[in-house]
Amino acid sequence: MPSKTEKPEDWLDDYGDMLYCYALLRVRSEATAEDLVQETLLAGFQGFEKFSGKSSVRTWLMGILKHKIIDFFRKNRHEQTLLKESDLGEDLLAHQFDQRGHWSIELLEWKTPDQHLSNKQFQQIFQQCLSRLPQRMLDLFMLRTIDGVSSEDCCDILGFDSNNQLWVTLSRTRMRLRQCLEIKWFSNS
């Protein structure tokens, strides 16, 4: 039996903010994030009898929330706006490469980048760069890179036609983020 030292009635106070933050970063709507927290806690209450206690309640609730988020994307995939050519950064490609596909710009050397990770200003700049991405690009990037959702599931959830389309989109997402950081941070620091 699980240790029931944690009382479900405390979960909202103990884990509410954590769940909310996690959801908000992904769905980017306060109302939706709130709904997801509520659904997660309810599912937690209902499933608590079956909770094995092998992981912490925290980890277990996070697992439930991740499923809820994936369900949310799947249900809403038809409402997502498709990416346009311009979203994929064709203009950025043309700016960076010549006709033979070789660099036409010189990339900066990012000196000791790790020291910026804990810098609040840097984090803000990065958030800005993220917020400039089209929604679907950001969704994909978060699901695949942080949450480790498989390529097949990403295609299914977000409605991409093929793995190839997915990889190209991820590549262009990184290109846009890289460019944004280089201009807004590394060329000034």
Binding site: L12, T145, V168, E182
Partner: protein
């Protein structure tokens, strides 16, 4: 020989899946002679680190009191 554009696309794909051996080889050969692409690949690795660290940050985002009350009502009324 791969172009730079092809190389960085493979470099990104390499973060998402396992490349075929000939793709890895072609990429390596290109990177040996192209410092711009080497830089780009380094930048991509750093981006991965940033995104993971952003996710782990203690953030200032909290449920508002009103939202907390709404949730409380809904989950305890069932």
């Amino acid at each position: 020989m791969l172009s730079c554009k092809q190389t960085i696309e493979l470099g990104s794909k390499n973060l998402d899946t396992v490349l075929a051996w000939h793709q890895r080889l072609e990429m390596k050969l290109h990177l040996m002679v192209c410092h711009n692409c080497r830089r780009y690949i380094k930048h991509l690795r750093f981006l991965q680190k940033v995104i993971v660290s952003i996710d782990k940050q203690d953030s200032n985002i909290h449920l508002s009191e009103q939202a907390r009350e709404r949730i409380r009502k809904k989950i305890f009324s069932k």
